[in-house]
């Protein structure tokens, strides 16, 4: 059975059908395997033995491994899907599972392990970190192989009792769509021996046949017992070979422990694992055709290392071997595969199994999905031939620091001429990728046609660019690298033509299809000159269509995908035009029928209109436009930004040499300000006449693009024409002007500001509205605004939302989703405390929009102070932040000691004031800042050693604000233990949980914050357990300041909670309602939904302040009024709830009723708590005195 699937689906389809229990935890790029398994389980699809597998999402990968270990001990066939840090968390259990000789397969979409930075992309760092666990390891290199090896691993583990780790390259294989032959249920049932399954069950724990497993062993026997399993490992290679040959008998697809390809008498051989084998193989073939003698050896079974098979497969003629590792092991003699091969050859030579010892060199390639191209492969063969070849090398980068990199010819190309190659540049929101996936499926189902698709996404969540690489041909397509010379380039947004990489990918004579807002006759003159020159030089055929207008006219809004897909089929000639259009329409019929006549007809119309309006653009000879592409970053940007960041922004980061990059992962902050993304045509526009200057719009702006200042009128001199101002509405400052500046190029047009504006201007308008960008000023106005003097913090009323608008945000222009519900809280944090904050950020959305390169939003103020930000891991963030607190306390204490020692020299009055300041209120902090500055000045003139010492820690005399931030996946699940522990620590840390009630970053998986009755991935039938009440848990300690806030419901309460939490001397917890795209809402309604969440009593606003308890008052404040609307009035507006009503109305009704009951019950509890006397709350022993 042929199918076009990606690697994850290829693997999951086997794993699901030959297992009974899947224990998982979401992690990129492995999550889709688990999600598919959950989907199939939800639909009741059975495994090959007739039962429906159970899929369980755990709180972490450590939990998943533990649950899996238990399921295996219980005799169930069990599997898991993971990657990267997830696999690392499983390691302790992997030792146990292997030590107990338990058959099981872990499927790993191999990914980088976070070191100097996190990376979600593919390499073998994770699996190499698990190679010592006792698991057998099987490596597959393509979608077909991944599918087949999933079955072979299962066969071999049952036969050998040794657990298997089956891995394949994250993204390159896991996310590549390819046409493959799928194993049927019958084939799988024949391949996987049911007798061995029964044997596995027979070894399970049962009271009918009790035994003890998992003992403690002592020096007398542990060692021998560890050696006792050796025969099982010795048998593995043979059993894998046997499984492979059985597999070949049934399917016709033959594999070996290793695979050699190339010249039978090769003098040079490269050894590799994973998808790079195919690139090396095809390159070797080409080189051999031109007279070279090279070959490639793929290692499929990596553990136990098949030394004999390696020796047997290598031609006796080999003189040089290059071993390529897709991982880095700093400080080692060489990377793992290199050492294995070197050892194998050395031993074989010692034993006389090979006549001579070849020269073995080892190289690293492809870390974090770095491309491994035929040019690089040829470079490896070439390096081997070179006299004095580098013994350790890297390929694919320019290492100008250690000189490890080898040269290669980037233009070396081995693409088959009969393969059609198409590259599409789209916007994330325009449906390009979805349409291309359909195109692949359309062509993949054509008889005799094969298709491959690979998609590259950028680092931002809003306004992001996608690049689709599609290949089509008449034979299976194995080309695990990006297209570099396309026959067809689709540029789905006209502005992209200004980007260097769009036309660079076009081959000579290729077809270029441009989505152009201009009529065909005008298209040419609107194209930037640099692009025109390439079009002419490459003799491209240029077609244009106004897809945006057509889509809008037929009623498809901004979804240009159908129009452009039709145009692709019309001009590409991949399949005959009429047939292609027929297939597109048939596909539309299938995809859109459900959505009613209107949408169906609109899409069919879009196809017809596209074909009518698509035009070939005549290219006038010698006529070029005057449109120049602007510089990537402004001239005034710092050198680092110009030399490094700008390269990454323009898609040329691959060209950066090693020397350009920080060695320790430390990057300058505030770089997002240099990336003017202009992602929205509709942006916020201020109406100064109507504005009441309340500050609400700026308060909720997720992207910090709304800023306010006031200034004397004379400062207006030299203002650009579009610069707006209005009289300041404040007592005591007559004649002062006020400006609310929209940062036009950074605004995403999310509209939250409009929703938050309380002013109503007749005509359904507010004092801030969305308007076309061209109506408004841009860069000049912002520059002028920035030139106005900042408002001194001492003059700002921190206690009001109105006041906070004058505080400079130190978190700006993040790449979060337009209208993000999390970022306004971070921005507020940065405004209030940023200049003295250190931030520990859990992995998740906030670490991605907060720290994903090339540009990052945490920034500093004019005085150079700002939040210092770091991300450690997902699971350890609370502990990570506590560590920051410990260091700060330690150094503050040291600074106090030293200050006291230098009291005379520094001045007793100053020292006493410094040491006596409580630093809880903003005014105290301001005063302390001045005192510390003076202290530092005096310190510089003191020659004593203590003074030098004090200088290194003196900044700690200003109280540091430690913030621990992250999402609910962290706080409720994987980091729950840590959060709980630090809340119980009594230390002065502030925990901000931005609760989206779902794992947002990995695409909407259920967490323990997911509410009753909502659907999420792994809760597709509706969550049947109530959300954990983290607030009550924390309150139970008595020593924790706790607040639950929702900015959209009560911004003032949010502000109050943030300030109280920070001022509280002890642990604080703020749980912030964060609306999210994963709720299935129009993001513009996010604030209204927050309001409804509170109004329905679902999200009661509370504050619990132990200081109030200490003062003898009730510390529990219920800040929101009694429920005024039913829960349903809030929940039915969100797809996460309404979807269940659509799939299972009766269950939705039942859960909605129970959810309402839960809301009522919780409200009653809270109300009762709000009336309790102080003594009925736990005392804080740190404050309670006898």
């Amino acid at each position: 059975m042929r199918a076009t699937v990606d690697g994850n689906e290829a693997v999951a389809s086997v794993a699901y059908r030959v297992n009974e229990v899947c224990c998982i935890y979401p992690i990129t790029p492995a999550s889709p395997m688990a999600e598919l398994a959950d989907e199939w389980s939800g639909k009741g699809i059975r495994n090959v033995w007739g039962s429906v597998p159970t899929v369980v999402e755990m709180q972490s990968e450590a939990g998943a491994a533990g649950a899996m270990h238990g399921a295996l001990q219980g005799g169930a066939l069990s599997t898991t899907f993971t990657a990267s840090q997830g696999l690392l968390l499983m390691i302790p259990n992997m030792y146990k599972i292997a030590g107990e000789l338990t058959p099981a397969v872990f499927h790993v979409a191999a990914r980088s392990v976070a070191a100097q930075a996190l990376s979600i992309f593919g390499d073998h760092s994770d699996v190499m970190a698990a190679r010592q666990t006792g698991f057998a390891m099987l490596s597959s290199g393509s979608v077909q192989q991944a599918h087949d090896f999933a079955a072979i691993a299962q066969m071999a583990t049952l036969a050998s009792r040794v657990p298997f780790l089956h891995f394949f390259d994250g993204f390159r294989v896991s996310h590549e769509l390819n046409t493959i032959t799928m194993l049927s249920n019958e084939e799988l049932a024949r391949l996987v021996s049911v007798e061995l399954v029964r044997e596995h069950r027979g070894r399970s724990m049962t009271p009918e046949n009790p035994f003890v497993r998992g003992t403690s062993q002592n020096p007398d026997v542990f060692f021998q017992a560890r050696e006792a399993a050796n025969p099982y490992y010795s048998a593995v290679p043979g059993l894998v070979e046997a499984a492979m040959s059985t597999f070949a008998e049934h399917t016709g697809r033959g594999y070996g422990l290793v695979a050699y390809s190339g010249h039978p008498a090769a003098d040079r051989v490269a050894v590799v694992m994973g998808s790079a084998f195919e690139t090396l193989r095809a390159t070797a073939e080409r080189l051999n055709d031109s007279g070279e003698r090279v070959g490639v050896l793929a290692v499929h079974l990596y553990r136990p290392f098949p030394a004999e098979a390696v020796i047997a497969a290598l031609p006796r003629s080999v003189r040089k071997v290059a071993v390529l590792d897709r991982t880095k092991e700093p400080g080692s003699l060489g990377e793992p595969l290199y050492l294995d091969v070197l050892g194998t050859l050395a031993e074989a030579f010692q034993l006389g199994k090979i006549p001579s010892m070849p020269l073995v060199i080892g190289g690293r390639y492809g870390l974090s999905s770095k491309e491994f191209t035929p040019g690089m492969a040829a470079g490896v063969f070439s390096e081997m031939r070179r006299e004095g070849a580098k013994r350790r090398f890297t390929v694919g980068i320019n290492d100008d620091v250690s000189g490890t990199s080898i040269d290669y010819d980037p233009s070396f190309d081995i693409e088959l001429p009969d393969t059609f190659r198409a590259v599409f540049f789209g916007l994330g929101s325009d449906g390009t990728v979805g349409a291309n996936k359909n195109t692949i499926k359309i062509i993949g189902t054509e008889p005799g046609m094969f298709a491959q698709g690979y998609f590259v996404y950028d680092s931002k969540k809003s306004g992001s660019q996608t690049v689709s690489h599609l290949r089509f041909g008449h034979r299976p397509i194995q080309a695990p690298y990006l297209i570099r010379e396309a026959n067809f380039v689709g540029c789905h947004r006209f502005e992209f033509l200004a980007r260097a990489d769009v036309l660079a990918v076009a081959g000579r004579g290729a077809t270029l299809l441009v989505n152009s807002p201009y009529p065909a006759a005008k298209v040419w003159e609107m194209i930037p000159r640099v692009a025109q020159e390439q079009i002419v030089a490459k003799e491209l055929e240029l077609y244009a269509v106004d897809a945006g207008r057509i889509a809008s006219e037929v009623g498809l809004g901004g979804r240009v995908n159908t129009v452009l897909q039709a145009c692709f089929f019309a001009v590409s000639g991949v399949i005959e035009r009429e047939r292609a259009i027929g297939q597109v329409k048939a596909f539309i019929g299938k995809s859109y029928a459900r959505r009613g006549d209107r949408v169906l007809k609109a899409n069919l119309n879009a196809v017809d209109r596209a074909l009518e309006e698509l035009e070939r653009v005549e290219i006038p000879e010698g006529s070029f436009s005057a449109i120049e592409t602007p510089p990537v970053v402004p001239d005034g940007a710092p050198d680092f930004v110009k030399q490094v960041t700008a390269m990454m922004m323009s898609g040329r980061g691959d060209e950066l040499p090693v020397s350009a990059l920080p060695a320790d992962g430390t990057w300058p902050s505030g770089t997002a300000a240099f990336e003017k993304r202009n992602v929205s045509e509709i942006i916020a526009k201020w109406d100064g006449d109507s504005c009441i200057q309340c500050g609400n719009c700026g308060f909720v702006c997720p992207h910090s693009v709304i800023r306010s200042k006031y200034y004397p009128p004379e400062k207006l001199e030299g203002a650009p024409g579009n610069f707006q101002s209005a009289p300041l509405r404040a007592r005591g400052l007559p004649g002062t002007l006020f400006t609310l500046q929209v940062y036009a190029e950074d605004c995403t047009g999310c509209g939250l500001c409009v929703e938050a504006c309380p002013v109503v201007v007749p005509g359904e308008r507010k004092a801030i509205n969305l308007a076309p960008r061209e109506e408004q000023g841009g860069r000049e106005e912002v520059a002028f605004f920035e030139s106005l003097p900042p408002i001194e913090r001492s003059r700002i009323d921190f206690a009001t939302v109105r006041g906070t608008q004058f505080l400079e945000p130190l978190f700006e222009f993040s790449g979060a989703c337009a209208g993000c519900g999390e970022t306004p809280y971070l921005k507020l944090l940065s405004q209030l405390f940023g200049e003295r904050a250190v931030i520990a950020n859990a992995t998740g959305c906030s670490s991605i929009y907060g720290g994903n390169l090339p540009t990052t939003p945490w920034t500093k103020g004019a005085d150079g102070r700002g939040p210092a930000w770091s991300n450690s891991l997902f699971e350890d963030n609370a502990e990570f932040g506590l560590g920051m607190r410990l260091a700060a306390d330690q150094h503050a204490e040291l600074a106090r000691d030293l200050t006291l020692k230098l009291r005379e020299e520094l001045g007793a009055k100053l020292v006493d004031a410094v040491l006596d300041s409580a630093q809880r209120s903003e005014s105290e902090l301001q005063a302390q800042r001045v005192r510390v500055a003076l202290l530092k000045k005096r310190l510089a003139s003191i020659g004593r050693l203590e003074a030098t010492d004090l200088a290194s820690v003196v900044d700690h005399l200003l109280r540091r604000s430690v913030w621990i931030v992250g999402g609910d996946g962290w706080a409720y699940d994987i980091g729950s233990g840590g959060v709980d522990h630090i809340l119980a620590s009594g230390r002065d840390v502030n925990v901000l949980v931005m609760d989206t009630e779902v794992y947002s970053n990995t695409g909407g998986q259920m967490s323990k914050a997911t509410p009753l009755g909502a659907i999420a991935k792994f809760a597709s039938a509706g969550k049947t357990v109530e959300k954990k009440d983290l607030a009550l848990q924390a309150i139970a300690y008595g020593s924790v300041y706790v607040a639950r806030v929702a900015m959209g419901a009560d911004p003032q309460q949010t502000l109050r909670a943030f300030r109280e939490a920070e001022a509280y001397e002890g642990p604080s917890l703020i749980i912030a309602y964060s609306h999210c795209i994963a709720h299935g809402i129009d993001m513009r309604n996010g604030l209204a939904q927050q309001y409804r969440a509170v109004a329905s009593g679902y999200w009661p606003l509370i504050r619990y302040d132990p200081m109030v308890r200490a003062a003898g008052e009730n510390p529990f404040l219920l800040d929101s009024p009694r429920p005024r609307i039913a829960l349903g009035d809030y929940s039915r507006r969100e797809l996460r709830y309404s979807m269940l009503a659509a799939t299972d109305p009766a269950e939705a009704e039942r859960l909605a009723r129970l959810a309402q009951e839960a809301v009522d019950q919780r409200w009653a509890t809270y109300e009762e708590m709000a009336t309790r006397p102080a003594h009925r709350f736990p005392a804080d022993a740190r404050r309670e005195h006898a």
């Binding site: 969540k461 009613g596 109503v760 990995t1002 999420a1016 979807m1139 659509a1142």
Partner: protein, 335 residues
């Protein structure tokens, strides 16, 4: 006491019918209505816009933010939502099963083909009858009255020819000659006329300077228009007549019956006071009948209807003049 009545060919235990409202959105709501003692239940309307609009909105929200960022290529699990019409039919089917009184389907489509298809689906789901909710406000100043009438008549004929169960038409009161359209619909095969549907009259919020939705619960005063037309039409057409607005207490039901209604519908009262209020209405009605010495509805139905042969126009005019005079006397008006 015999409260039985025949309405559009159906035998009802009593004339109080729960009309289409949000109470019938859930099975639980239907269960409460069925237990309340009403004589029949009209399900909430199946709106064509709801069917396509919901699918559209769902697809838009499902697609939002997908295929943009490598870690989150989608945000929702793959599920198979039922079409809104299928859910409606599922609910209707279950409602029919649990209700011992007739359940009437209600339909509001926009395209002619959809009317037929959905009417047939409603019939096969077990509805005892179908009510066509022809909500149509000819807001354009170019549509002439005759064509508005023609739409109603054609629609009815189309649905009648496609189903076997009785079909009622719920009308709005804004026809140039209400009586004539009633007679034409009767001739076209209407089994009942429901008088009247309430238009959504948007309101204006002067505080927020905004137009706000105008749906609210009806009050007894509004029943006068419906009752006037029922009293005019009683005995003049074959189709049953249902009064459908302004019912809050038993006396409102009684007034409709005195005017000649075969059934009396209420949504507002049941929403305002809860479904159990039906029992209160019925008990008070029985008490009234006892007080007045009536044994069955037949004893008083249509007692105050316009007698056959009366010139309704002249009578109305005379009553108008009387009313003004009396107002003048009471309020010292200009007359």
């Amino acid at each position: 006491m015999n409260l039985e009545t025949r309405y559009m060919g159906l035998k009802l235990e009593n004339p109080l019918v729960a009309s289409a409202s949000s109470l019938s959105y859930t099975l639980d709501g239907v269960r409460k209505l069925a237990a309340s003692g009403v004589g029949a239940i009209v399900m909430h309307s199946l709106f064509e816009e709801e069917i396509t609009g919901e699918a559209d909105r769902r697809a838009r929200l499902l697609e939002a933010g997908t295929e943009s960022y490598a870690e989150s290529l989608s945000y929702f699990p793959e599920t198979t939502p039922q079409r809104a019409s299928k859910r409606y039919l599922g609910l209707l089917e279950r409602a029919v099963k649990l209700s011992r009184v007739p359940v009437i389907g209600s339909l509001n489509a926009s395209a002619p083909g959809a009317w037929i298809a959905h009417a047939q689906e409603i019939e096969s789901a077990g509805a005892a009858a179908i009510e066509l909710n022809t909500y149509m406000l000819p807001a354009s100043v170019e549509i002439d009255g005759r064509s508005v009438e023609a739409v109603h008549v054609e629609l009815l004929q189309m649905v009648k020819s496609a189903v076997h169960v009785p079909v009622a038409v719920k009308l709005n009161p804004f026809f140039s000659s209400m009586g004539e359209i009633a007679v034409r619909l009767d001739a076209a095969g209407a089994d009942a006329l429901v008088l009247f549907a309430r238009f959504v009259h948007p309101d204006i919020d002067p505080e927020r300077i905004r137009i706000v939705p105008g749906i609210g619960l009806s009050n007894p005063y509004e029943s006068r228009l419906s009752r006037t037309w029922i009293s005019h039409l009683h005995g003049k057409i074959g189709a049953s007549l249902a009064g459908a607005t302004g019912v809050d207490q038993a006396e409102d039901v009684v007034k409709y019956l005195l005017a000649g209604a075969d059934a009396v519908m209420s949504a507002s009262a049941l929403l305002r006071h809860g479904p159990a209020h039906a029992r209160v209405i019925l008990d008070s009605m029985i008490a009234w009948m006892e007080r007045k010495g009536f044994q069955s509805l037949a004893d008083f139905r249509g007692l105050l209807a316009r007698p056959e042969g009366e010139d309704g126009t002249a009578a109305e005019r005379a009553e108008y003049v009387d009313a003004l005079r009396s107002a003048n006397a009471n309020f010292h008006g200009p007359w």
